[in-house]
Amino acid sequence: MDYRSPLAKVRGLGSANAGTSHWWMQRVTAVALIPLSYWLIIFLDLSLNASYQQTAAWLASPFNAICVVSWVIAVFYHAAMGLQVVIEDYVSPEGWKITSIWSVYLIFLFLALAALIAILRIILAG
């Protein structure tokens, strides 16, 4: 027995506005990531090739730290949203779909926090 009104059913079925904001945030983070990728590449290059002191000092400088932290926030959000769309397209059983989307969001939240805490440790040490 379903006690919901027709309006409530329609709201539950359709986008209920979540689709638009998902699409919109995917674009907002995408645009932010274009310039921020520069800091990612510099950081990766330093980490793979430069000395420990050089890399730590670079990341501890305020502007670089702000840019890398912004990159982390934008990229993990962007990635989780993108993977959600891929899962929604290719996984059809409802249970699997929902649990895999939840897992993706939880894993990427965990990874983002791990990265942010690591950056914080570098700033505090430097």
């Binding site: 674009r27 990728s37 590449i41 990635a79």
Partner: protein, 124 residues
């Protein structure tokens, strides 16, 4: 409803995709690969936080040829995803949907991502 001749959507295995279609699925695949690559970012930044011995250990690991290859694959995927992402932003404004422009932009994207990777390889 039981008409068997109903049109099918372009299925990936039986339909030869146009260039834009190939690039579109590549955009998605690079997106998934880049997302997985983020695990490596967390590993690297944690090694920097872990101090100089953890750092040099990480550098030794990342110096292995397989990881170097994955690193440059990641950089190329990043530039490709970025270039095609810019086109998605253009499409969002409702522009450049005709076939000739689409093929032209596809060539531009592919060469731009290769050139950017090459520049990163040379200058960084």
């Amino acid at each position: 409803m039981n008409n068997v001749n109903r049109p099918l959507s372009p299925h990936l295995q039986v339909y030869r995709l146009p260039l834009t279609g190939i690039i579109s699925i590549t955009h998605r695949m690079t997106g998934v690969m880049l997302s997985m690559g983020l695990v490596f970012f967390v590993y690297i930044v944690s090694a920097v936080a872990g101090g100089s011995s953890a750092y040099s250990e990480m550098q030794d690991v990342m110096d292995m040829w397989l990881f170097r290859l994955m690193y440059w694959g990641f950089i190329y995927a990043l530039f490709f995803h970025l270039c095609h992402g810019v086109r998605h932003l253009l499409w969002d404004t409702g522009k450049s949907f005709d076939r000739d422009t689409m093929d032209q932009y596809a060539i531009i994207e592919l060469s731009a991502s290769l050139i950017l990777t090459l520049l990163a390889f040379i200058f960084i």
